[in-house]
């Protein structure tokens, strides 16, 4: 087995951390489904099958400076970006302490100013022009940052996708558009969403760099996003990246995916699941030892247990706060 991470400048510790975050996102997600089926939380929207692309991407950005506009499946990304498991659980329990929205939004609708993470809504792709606006503002201010935004392949058909991409292309802005192509927009598969082979083919139409990579491989994600970020810093403008992933769960806890795809198809995709294949890679190189793996699983489980307990016991926001923050409140 070829050591690919050393060639990218990553230490063994770095890739263990990467895997740790991917695994944490997966285990959080699995716990959310259990909590949902147990009637404790009303809704789950999953990241399963997209963690590798998300975490690899985050490692290629400057986590102290860059601005990000993740979408609702980005559990792996936001964890890598600094959100804690406890904060995610508070978000899923819709508690007052949830830093994303204090329980105002549905789960997975991230936003955290402290982390330079824009707030987003449910109508998809509206965040793309926002990310472009951040890049435009940074350029006006002379700030050397990158603005990173994610969305699904269904979203790549929205007007806002095209308007944002064109604007960024025309103004040569430091934006990275990363499409997490999980092959399904709820029930509608790729062949009814796209008539081109790849979402990244569209980059040419906007005069920007485009690239599709293996979304099950965090190192491929890192490499692609790093290349795009380097280009942005050099003033070479935006990039359209496409992570080829697969959505391993139904669209949400309210969906039944067996009405539009087969179990055999999902089982086949699971063989390429990035969490499993990256673990296999690390095991083969002797980086992920049985002891480390055991320690990791136990620690993550404990962290999720504690976060779940904390969030479950945490209060909802005071109902009267429903009237607050419609506009700026001046003292």
């Amino acid at each position: 087995m070829e050591n690919r991470h050393h060639a990218l400048g990553f230490s063994d510790q770095d890739v263990l951390k990467m895997y740790d975050i991917m695994l944490t996102a997966r285990r959080v997600d699995e716990r959310l489904w259990l909590l949902n089926r147990a009637g404790k939380i009303p809704f789950v929207v999953s990241c399963q099958g997209q963690e590798a692309a998300q975490v690899g991407a985050a490692f290629a950005l400057n986590r102290e400076k860059d601005y990000v506009a993740p979408y609702y499946r980005d559990y792996g990304f936001v964890l890598a970006w600094g959100m804690t498991v406890r904060e995610m659980m508070l978000n899923n329990f819709a508690r007052g302490e949830d830093p994303n929205s204090a329980g105002r939004q549905m789960p997975g609708h991230f936003g955290y100013k402290k982390l330079r993470m824009l707030s987003h809504s449910s109508p998809v792709t509206t965040q793309n022009p926002h990310a472009v606006g951040v890049a435009l503002a940074a350029k006006l201010k002379g700030d050397d940052i990158v603005s990173f935004v994610t969305f699904g392949e269904g979203s790549a058909n929205q007007g806002d996708f095209h308007e944002a991409a064109n604007f960024a292309g025309v103004h040569k802005l430091p934006v990275i558009f990363m499409c997490e192509n999980n092959h399904y927009a709820i029930s509608v598969g790729l062949k009814h969403q796209l008539s081109c082979d790849y979402v990244s083919d569209r980059a040419k139409g906007y005069g920007m760099f485009g690239k599709t990579f293996d979304g099950n491989d965090p190192l491929a994600a890192y490499l692609a996003v790093k290349e795009a970020a380097d280009r942005a810093h050099r003033g070479e403008g935006p990039s359209l990246l496409e992570a080829n992933c697969y959505r391993l769960t139904p669209h949400t806890s309210d969906d039944n995916d067996m009405t539009y795809r087969t179990k055999a198809e999902v089982e086949e995709a699971k063989k390429h699941d990035g969490v499993l294949t990256f673990a296999a890679y690390l095991r083969e190189l002797g980086v992920l030892t049985p002891e480390r793996e055991k320690e990791m699983e136990e620690r993550i489980r404990k962290e999720i247990d504690e976060a779940t307990d904390y969030a479950e016991k945490a209060p909802f926001a005071d109902p009267m706060t429903v009237l607050r923050y419609v506009y700026e409140e001046k003292d």
Partner: protein
């Protein structure tokens, strides 16, 4: 005190705010070298350069959406919609995003964005260069909608909109751009958003309106004064959220209220004003609250006689005020 036109007030407000705060910039279609199709941004490109006076691609959702992102970053964008009629592609960005960002993030993020849009008829603009779009946005908490009638109000309220920390839609009546002139102080001033203004005092009938119709009401009132009818005129200035106190006080003063809008009637801003009066002024009224508005037809046609029929004019207001006075 200098006398300037309505559109000069727009340009002056933009220029002064850009000079005052380097975070203010304008963006839109043709706002750069061309200075805007109406010349509202005339001279700004030469003074501030292409970085702060940005010609955008022809894509309204991006103009607003990119403005939202820049505002979240900490700048104060002024996004121009070339015509209010063309802002519908940006409606999702305005209603789902700009209006709700502060609320949905529990006060973490805010969007200090101003969206300027010329609206209104009487310029042979046909269906799609004449409409009043305020009612579409006047049911959206999180937004503020300003619709001034005079150069003085334009300047003071546009400056206030740019300094506001929440999204403001600033509708400018395009027929008023060169038709309406007025005095503006030489010194710096800012007017409060959310406050209506009594443009004429009177005892017999109250007219509550906004935009160009304020001037029609003033002309009608002047004429009716000769007949012994005294008309009070309240200019809403901000149509969302409404200045309820001023509306109630104005209705109570005369007990006879005429509500006027250039917009189509049903579901218009003045219908909400009527509801406020109905809820608060039952025992003060001496006549039914009346509405004068455009017909409930899609929009005003291009052909001159048809456009004229659709539109308000001082004579229509005069008759409606007289009818109420005689009730």
């Amino acid at each position: 005190m200098a006398v300037i036109s309505y559109i000069e007030a727009v340009t002056q407000a933009l220029k002064e705010e850009m000079e005052r705060d380097e975070n203010v910039f304008v963006m839109g279609e043709d706002v750069g070298k061309r200075g805007g199709v109406f010349q509202a941004t005339k001279g700004l490109y030469d003074e501030f350069g292409e970085k702060r006076v940005i010609d955008t691609p022809l894509a309204e959702s991006a103009i607003v959406g990119v403005g939202i992102g820049a505002a979240m970053y900490g700048l104060r964008p002024v996004a121009e919609m070339q015509f209010a009629d063309f802002m519908l592609p940006a409606t999702n960005q305005i209603i789902s995003e700009a209006a709700k960002t502060r609320y949905r993030s529990n006060n973490d993020w805010s969007v200090p964005l101003t969206i300027r849009a010329p609206y209104g008829g009487g310029v042979h603009g046909g269906l799609y260069h004449s409409q009043s779009m305020e009612a579409i946005f006047a049911n959206v908490p999180g937004l503020k909608i300003v619709m001034p009638s005079t150069p003085y109000d334009v300047k003071g309220l546009l400056k206030a909109s740019i300094r506001d920390n929440d999204p403001v839609i600033f509708f400018e009546h395009k027929r008023a751009y060169r038709l309406i002139k007025g005095e503006v102080p030489d010194e710096e001033y800012v007017l409060p958003i959310g406050k209506a203004d009594v443009k004429r005092d009177g005892d017999d009938v109250t007219v509550i309106t906004y935009g160009l119709a304020v001037h029609f009401a003033l002309q009608a009132a002047e004429k009716l004064a000769g007949e012994g009818i005294s008309t009070q005129i309240l200019d809403l200035r901000t149509v969302y959220p409404l200045d309820k106190e001023a509306i109630i006080a104005a209705a109570q003063k005369t007990g006879k209220v005429l509500l006027v809008t250039e917009d189509t009637k049903e579901g218009s801003v003045i219908s909400e004003v009527a509801a406020i009066i109905a809820e608060n002024c039952l025992f003060d009224l001496d006549a039914p609250v009346k509405r004068l508005a455009a017909p409930d037809a899609p929009a005003m046609p291009f052909a001159a006689p048809l456009e004229k029929t659709f539109l308000l004019n001082p004579e229509k207001l005069e008759q409606a005020i007289r009818d109420l006075a005689e009730f």
